[in-house]
């Protein structure tokens, strides 16, 4: 048996008790709305499920939305292959405090739309004087950002819009004295008269 050993082929992937397969399906980005009981630990359950099962979270936003029923709405932007996205929905639905899981992206596509309505709010602090300061304010006007705080040395802009617009605004402000950015993460719902 030891002879077999010495004659064994060149290094290969490690021997394993598991069946290792590479999967290379294309990934998609979806936005999920999850309605949960607002109780201690509920967010940890949702986040723990994502980390424990190796799912991605690109953005997560949460707040109580129905005070009388103590229901919170969590908006999660996630990336995965279609089977993984189906698993994420089903796994979330299995959690005891979860009332409803809706894949807003799927609903939008089902209605012939590209995406659900997705908005983010960002606070952006720019510090500087002279030309840079004037340029920053000009850009803010172009982006319809609001000035919510200012001194002669700085501006804090508030911008609401799709994530891509915020990305763009932040990138442009980078050389103009950008010192701090805070973003809320995506809030989303489907277009049209019907509720979730």
């Amino acid at each position: 048996m030891n002879d077999t050993m010495t004659a064994k082929p060149a290094p290969t992937p490690p021997a394993s008790a598991y069946f290792i397969e590479e999967r290379r399906d294309p990934s998609e980005t979806h936005t999920l709305a999850v309605l949960v009981d607002n109780e201690p630990g509920v967010l940890a359950r949702v986040i723990g499920l994502f980390s424990g099962r190796g799912y991605n979270i690109e953005s997560l936003t949460v707040s109580e939305t129905e005070h009388a029923k103590h229901l919170s709405r969590i908006t999660i932007v996630t990336t995965g292959t279609p089977p993984v996205l189906e698993q994420i929905r089903n796994q979330l639905d299995r959690l005891v405090p979860v009332h409803r899981v809706t894949d807003l992206t799927m609903v939008a596509r089902g209605r012939g739309q590209e995406k659900p309505l997705e908005r983010e709010l960002a606070l952006i602090k720019v510090r500087g004087s002279g030309e840079h300061r004037i340029e920053a304010l000009r850009l803010a006007t172009a982006f319809k950002a609001e000035v919510v705080d200012a001194t002669t040395e700085h501006f804090v802009f508030q911008l609401t819009g799709p994530s891509s617009e915020i990305e763009q605004f932040v990138a442009i402000l980078q050389p103009l004295g950008l010192v701090e950015v805070c973003r809320t993460g995506v809030a989303a719902m489907n277009r049209g008269p019907d509720p979730m």
Binding site: M1, T4, K8, T12, P13, F19, D93
Partner: protein
Amino acid sequence: MSEQMTGAEMVIRALIDQGVEHIFGYPGGAVLPIYDELFQQDKVRHILVRHEQGAGHAAEGYARSTGRPGVVLVTSGPGATNMVTPLTDAMMDSIPLVCITGQVPTHLIGNDAFQECDTVGITRPCTKHNWLVKDVNDLARILHEAFYVAATGRPGPVVVDVPKDVQFATGTYVGPEEARRTRRHTGYQPPRQGDPEQIRRAVRLMRQARRPVLYTGGGVVNSGPEAAKLLRELVALTGYPITSTLMGLGAYPASGRNWLGMLGMHGTYEANMAMHDCDLMVAIGARFDDRITGRTDAFSPGSRKIHVDVDASSINKNIRVDVPVVGDVAHVLRAMIAALREDEPAKPDALAPWWNQIARWRARNSLAFRPSKSVIMPQFAIQRLHALTKDRDTYITTEVGQHQMWAAQFYGFEEPNRWMTSGGLGTMGYGLPAALGVQAAHPESLVIDIAGDASVLMNMQEMSSAIQHELPIKVFILNNQYMGMVRQWQQLLHGNRLSHSYTEALPDFVKLAEAYGGVGIRAEKPAELDDAIMAMIETRKPVIFDCRVANLENCFPMIPSGKAHNEMLLPLEANDEAALAQSFAAGKELV
């Protein structure tokens, strides 16, 4: 029917109102008020273990053999962390457990107090749900909800963490009825009936099938005795061959005509070939685990697949299926059988060519082993144990490893709830405490832990519990002095370098049994085996049976790593050397 009482009283009262007769536990500082209440009543019997892990597995055995939730009571900190393994085990195998843990007083939580740990944080991923009770007025409602969540839908373990000040505080008790009305988690609605349209589609496929196979799992057992009865009815009605996962053994009798044996990594040739070549697979309460499927890209390539499961997340997780039916097995089977009966019965000979094919696979005799007159073959030991216990009221538990697979292959299970094993998590040390729990639930029955010499040492201390509570469990050790399954994998995949899989200093199991106050029996030759087994059965005390078996026997048949169902290694024709050669020649690029 609301009454004022302390939190500790509420715990006992809720257990009584839930019909709990036995709990398994270990006292400690943070649960002393509850233990004090336990002491002052006689409706709930407490079985003291020697390690909290033992309490957890005992409760699992209790649950699996009765169909009712198993209950555990442990203290904070180490008491809770020692429960993590049984909770995870119960989570993987869908066993209903209610674990009540003590916690440091509310005002100390977060202070790194003595024996404090973040119990709900630690157990969050290994429970179906868990609660930290901060107000005594929530305690009764939460306890009743805990039982409801543990036992309904896909069953699983739950934890209720009760700080010591909440146990002392006085509040209002509510009974199960009122608790149901005031339940908080209204979003938790486990499915029962399957979608009628999907059931119709399933039945339509079943009518056209020419090479069908039923693939059943632990979900049938969990659904209750009615589900097993309906499954047998479905087999009789359709004439389909049936195979089962490790967890589902006993739902269909091993002596049944249509039984193919267990499937999967150590399943029979006929079961795995039928899975591979079928044109219709009906998966019922099974979850396409990786020990079952082998290579998923080569899994049953030509079949349509129907999947019945109460847990929607089990569907399309590993294998894409054509017809998903989300519902309780018994409900769905009843609807399927009714729909099948509506039309004229299928021609009985429609499946004849398929059964002929299966007969050819069966003829390969994939469970064959070389008999020996000088040493006890482990397979032979299980065969004899089965022969001598099958006409008795017998329950079998196991540890994890080769002995577990041999038990699954050679012990013919005729009824559900008679077979307790750690399937998903593969917990060595499960079987002895599980047997304790089974024996507590069925004091007159014969309860045998089929064990390996390595596994059994992981929770050997529970022999002491067996003696204390007069639970006459039988620990039947297939002693080969190795961690047999580890060694088998090292032989197949790691160049026969037997790294730490040989146990150099095993205890004398006979003397060990005697040291605990039990009875030790040893058998070393095939000729003495039957008498020794009979002596074990007739002993009304805990027994450790040291069955010395062939040391180097391996477990076949086997689907090697990275292989499909039709690429099994068979015994005799594939002895260890051939297995080695094959794994090096062809399997390497895939393992």
